[in-house]
């Protein structure tokens, strides 16, 4: 495990994380006790069949939803202790989110989409525009800054979404199936950008995915099944087994 390395810090730690949903009298146990540690600069793939609790786990570590039991530490801060205003601060500057369906604001141009989180972080508009253009350049869309989402392809939209997630230079990127809505070639482009962010900027990336190409670029894999961690493996250990695992996945 990378924890041997003294230069690495734990950035996300969950301890006995459980989550129950109650609809009338029926209680659904989405998470039944998850203990994981994620280190700065890691590229993690979270895999698991649908209904496994993967999304719930994502919401917990993204500070989007509260846990029923156990704790989530982001950078050694207990998320449950944060107020709503502090949580907004956390989401704004510490974590970037990338969604399966891009979730760009439809009425904003690419640049406006990228600068929106900066506005929330109280960055002056001129500086925000400047940084926004830099980020669009990073994802290769600087010449399309004035286009609205409807005028862009899925891959271009996802690239804008990546630029937006990086707006306030977060240390964590949470990606929820970032390539699921894209064709193979476009998906590869997205993965390349994510990999580049991970290596060049040292952003910790956590990706929920079914995409096997992700296995090639991630450091570790976490399998979740029935609300528990089924297995954690380094990429090296998994590499040989890809075919078999591919057979297991739907």
């Amino acid at each position: 495990m990378p924890s041997d390395d003294a230069t690495l810090r734990v950035i996300i730690r969950t301890v006995g994380l459980t989550k129950h949903y109650q609809v009338k009298n029926v209680v659904t146990e989405a998470l039944r006790g998850i203990d994981v540690e994620i280190y700065t600069g890691e590229f993690i793939s979270v895999m698991g069949p649908s209904g496994s609790g993967k999304s719930t786990f994502f919401n917990m570590i993204g500070g989007l939803d509260g846990a029923t039991g156990g704790r989530v530490f982001i950078d050694e801060v207990d998320v449950a202790q944060l107020t709503a205003v502090e949580l907004a601060f956390l989401r704004c500057r510490k974590i970037g989110y990338i969604f399966q369906s891009y979730n760009l604001i439809t009425y904003m141009t690419a640049l406006e989409n990228v600068t929106t989180p900066m506005a929330f972080a109280d960055v002056p508009p001129d500086e925000a525009r400047h940084r926004g253009m830099e980020l669009l350049e990073l994802v290769g869309l600087a010449d399309r800054w004035f286009h609205r989402p409807i005028e862009m392809s899925g891959g271009q939209q996802q690239r804008v979404a990546i630029a937006r997630s990086m707006a306030n230079n977060p240390s964590i990127l949470l990606c929820d199936e970032p390539t699921a809505n894209l064709d193979l070639k476009t998906g590869s482009g997205i993965l390349r950008i994510l990999r580049q962010l991970n290596t060049d900027r040292g952003v910790t990336i956590i990706c929920a995915t079914h995409d096997h190409r992700m296995l090639d670029i991630c450091n570790r894999l976490i399998w979740i099944r029935d609300g528990r961690v089924d297995r954690i493996a380094k990429r090296d250990e998994v590499h040989i087994e890809v075919g078999t695992i591919g057979g297991e996945q739907q």
């Binding site: 205003v85 907004a88 240390s171 040292g202």
Partner: protein, 497 residues
């Protein structure tokens, strides 16, 4: 294997409170979004426009009606100056009329010199009398507003100014005061002491007003002798001349301005009467009927005057009059048309006289308040519904914004601001639409009478109020949707359809 933290981008961020977005940036983001949702915004604005237009239409029509009613009173009084003066000069007023004239003078703090000279009173006496009359009128007006049961208990069956004679009986006054004490909601317009002093002086007051009546009657009789068999109207056609002096000599007051106004009016009345009498003759009736191709029985003054409104008809009519043996040499074509115009104006005034009764001088009556209230509630429900739908449709956008660091307050404020802007434009448009409809409807009803009677300032005030109401209504209606949007969980953004 893992990348080293070279450029120190992984430095720890201390968690702080998220900054609040400035109002102007919130506003510009809201406007940006609204531009995108123009279709929906237009529909919501229309709901507001309809409700505010209804309010504004009712309000402006009512204000215009009241304003016209005020002018109408003046105009009718003006048109009837001669007729009113004729009545005034021919017969003495009743006790009530004398007292109310005195009371009116008392309110304006002028000395009614005509009545003073008729009664032959000194300044001090007439001043005292006007004061007494003012009290009498105030008490009688107050008593008339009581309901039947209250009146019965307080006054038995005494009525009008007769109540003062009745109350002078000590046992009646005692009963009045005892009963009044049991009705705490009723308060006499004068103090008890004033009432007692007033009742004490009542016989004197009455005698003095009677004295005025006698003087008035004598003056009228004196004037009657100078009529020389003329009717009062005929005599008044000479009001600027000899007859005016005779009026003044008889003991009435007639200033030059009134005389100048009365004399031509009296002449008009005489001419009108003369011309209307022509259609009593069969020959004239048949001639007009033939010219108009109608039955002779259908001819009445109204039709006659409309007929005389045209110049060629007037010339033809004058010729007919001479041929049939009526005296027409002092009449001209222009005179006939002028009389026709005055007659029609009077008719027009009479046809809108209902406005004096219908406008009970309040801007809105109970029923209209109720209707407007319902329409505003329907409007609010409409806005709330539109905004709730907007929240549902935009849940992903809202949740994404929250993931990007938007505070609950920003989301709520953005919705409220959007509603305020819809309310502003809807209110403005609605107020203008309502005002336009109200003005054109009232113009159709009152025509030129409206021209000088537009209460511009009040109408502008009403537009401002309607605009304000539109904004407030829209903002209030959006409170619930805004809270719902603000409470939306950010994890909704992760949901995949």
């Amino acid at each position: 294997m893992l990348p080293p933290d070279e450029d120190n981008t992984l430095k720890r961020i201390d968690i702080q409170d998220q900054a609040r977005l400035g109002f102007l940036r919130t506003l510009s983001m809201t406007i940006n979004g609204m531009r995108h949702r123009l279709g929906r915004s237009v529909v919501t604005i229309l709901v507001i426009v309809v409700a505010i237009a209804f309010l504004m239409n009712t309000l402006s029509e009512s204000m215009l009606k009241n304003s016209v009613a005020g002018r109408l009173d003046e105009r009718i009084k003006e048109l009837h100056t001669a007729a009113n003066l004729a009545t005034h000069l021919s017969q003495a007023g009743t006790e009530e009329q004398v007292l109310s004239r005195l009371a009116a003078a008392g309110e304006e703090e002028t000395i009614p010199s005509e009545l003073q000279s008729m009664g032959g009173f000194s300044d001090a006496t007439i001043t005292e009398l006007t004061e007494q009359a003012a009290q009498a009128t105030a008490i009688v007006t107050w008593l008339e507003r009581l309901n039947y049961g209250q009146r019965r208990r307080l006054l038995h069956d005494a009525e009008g100014y007769g109540v003062f004679g009745w109350l002078r009986e000590p046992e009646h006054l005692q009963r009045f005061e005892t009963e009044l004490a049991t009705m705490p909601s009723l308060k006499l317009p004068v103090t008890t002491e004033t009432l007692h002093r007033f009742l004490e002086a009542w016989p004197t007051t009455r005698a003095r007003s009677e004295q005025i009546r006698t003087g008035w009657l004598e003056a009228a009789n004196r004037l009657a002798t100078s009529l020389d068999g003329r009717s009062m109207i005929e005599a008044l056609s000479d009001a600027e001349g000899e007859f005016g002096n005779q009026v003044r000599e008889a003991g009435f007051q007639l200033d030059a301005t009134t005389a100048d106004r009365v004399a031509p009016q009296a002449r008009e009345m005489l001419d009108v009467k003369r011309i209307e009498q022509t259609i009593d003759s069969d020959a004239m009736q048949i001639a007009i009927a033939q010219r108009l191709d109608i039955l002779p029985g259908e001819i009445d003054p109204k039709l006659l005057w409309r007929f005389l409104g045209s110049g060629s008809n007037a010339s033809w009519f004058l010729q007919r009059m001479t041929e049939t043996g009526f005296r027409a040499e002092d009449l001209s074509r222009e005179r006939l048309r002028e009389l026709s115009r005055i007659y029609r104006e009077e008719q027009a005034l009479a046809s809108v006289a209902w406005v004096r009764d219908s406008a009970d001088r309040r801007i809105l009556d109970q029923r209209m308040i109720w209707l407007i209230g319902v329409s505003l509630i329907v409007c609010m429900v409409g806005i709330t519904n539109a905004m709730l739908m907007s929240v549902t449709q935009r849940f992903r956008e809202i949740a994404t914004m929250k993931c990007l660091g938007a505070l609950d307050g920003f989301i709520a404020l953005a919705f409220i601001l959007e509603a305020c802007m819809l309310g502003f434009f809807g209110g403005l448009l609605g107020a203008l639409v309502g005002l336009t409809i109200g003005m054109s409807r009232m113009f159709g009803t009152f025509g030129s009478l409206l021209a000088g009677a537009i209460p511009t300032f009040s109408l502008l005030l009403a537009v401002g109020a309607a605009l304000f109401l539109g904004v407030i209504l829209a903002a209030l209606s959006t409170v619930i949707p805004a809270l719902q949007a603000a409470r939306l969980a950010p994890m909704e953004a992760m949901r995949v359809e």
